[in-house]
Amino acid sequence: MTLTFALIFLTAVVAGLVGSMLGIGGALIVVPVITLFLGVPMKVAIGASIVSVIATSSAAQLVYVQRGITNTRLGMVLELATTLGAIAGGVTAVLISPRLLQGLFAALLLWAAWGMRRRSAAARPESPTGLLDGSFLDRATGETVSYGARRLPLGMALSFVAGNVSGLLGVGGGAIKMPVMNLFMGIPLKAAIATSNFTIGVTAATSAAIYFGKGYVDPVVAVPTALGILLGAQIGPRLAARLRSQTLRLLMVLLLLAFAVQMAVRAAT
């Protein structure tokens, strides 16, 4: 019991670190590791992963908000779309087969990975647009980056889908929201990461009660997950600040590919 506890804790430290560096919740890291290697049942793993998403968001924001990297206004606008999507997910869950949903999610992740990879080749400078403008200091380059949002309706529509999927699959939706902000809305990578991280806690909290109510949240798994994440997600943002955007982008592409494979396997089995 103690060994399992320690291993879950260590897994969560890594998930919190990687997740908070890239603006995702870590659910897609925690779930496969603890189900495949530690023998945790799927339902319990999903209950723990909802907790991990919220913990990642809250802990990382202590750094991202304090350093002014999160665009809180943009985050709140997208939260509206994403929470409504999560609520709608609860309604549509009975209509769509989980297998089809996982397959669609895998395709979406592959598409995001493709987009993120291409963007690195032709990165264009961001500029203020007068819409949800923001600016932050990039510690890796020492430059202040100013930018604005573009294509807000499209961004909101895709955030709705991200919320919908996350409500259904018990993930935070950051793996969709971060690429959407960066690729479609013209938000610089580091601001997109911080803002995506900001929104995933709200999305996950919206559907968390359902998992608590169903009895999926087992303290033996959820407690070490939460504690590990709280630690890892304090380190991640500090580490990410020192890395160049290109490095973070490459990490994100690799992780998106791993997630896509994972979802495709879930859909096929």
Binding site: A59, L80, T83
Partner: protein, 144 residues
Amino acid sequence: MSLRPREEPKAAADTGGTRGTARAAAHGAARSREAAAIDRLVYRVLAVGLVVSAALLVTGMVVWAVHGGRLPGSVAGPWRATRQLVGLQPEGFFSLGLLALVLTPVVRVAGSVAVFAKERDWRYVLITSGVLAAMIAGLVVGAG
């Protein structure tokens, strides 16, 4: 701040079409004051929520290490968990610690509504109220 179309010229766009630079400057100052207030609120709520949650979880671990025993397979609701906590049962600390973690974003959104209302930024009062309503709906549906 108005949600303007994307092709708007950048310099004056953030003023939401306000004419005259003095008014524009005042508007901009109000916006950045509001942004600072929101950032402070978010930071404080999250810091308090995390400290409370972590303290409960760690205390639960200590109690568990001392008392030992099997834990139930799922967390209890707030009332039962409080009784367990008063009875120094580790599961009470664990349930309330996890509950505090989940409720922190809800408090953060509720606090944002209040800050935007104080700044009379009705557009964002509406947006954040919508988010809060959706979160509460999720909680009610889940708890029911």
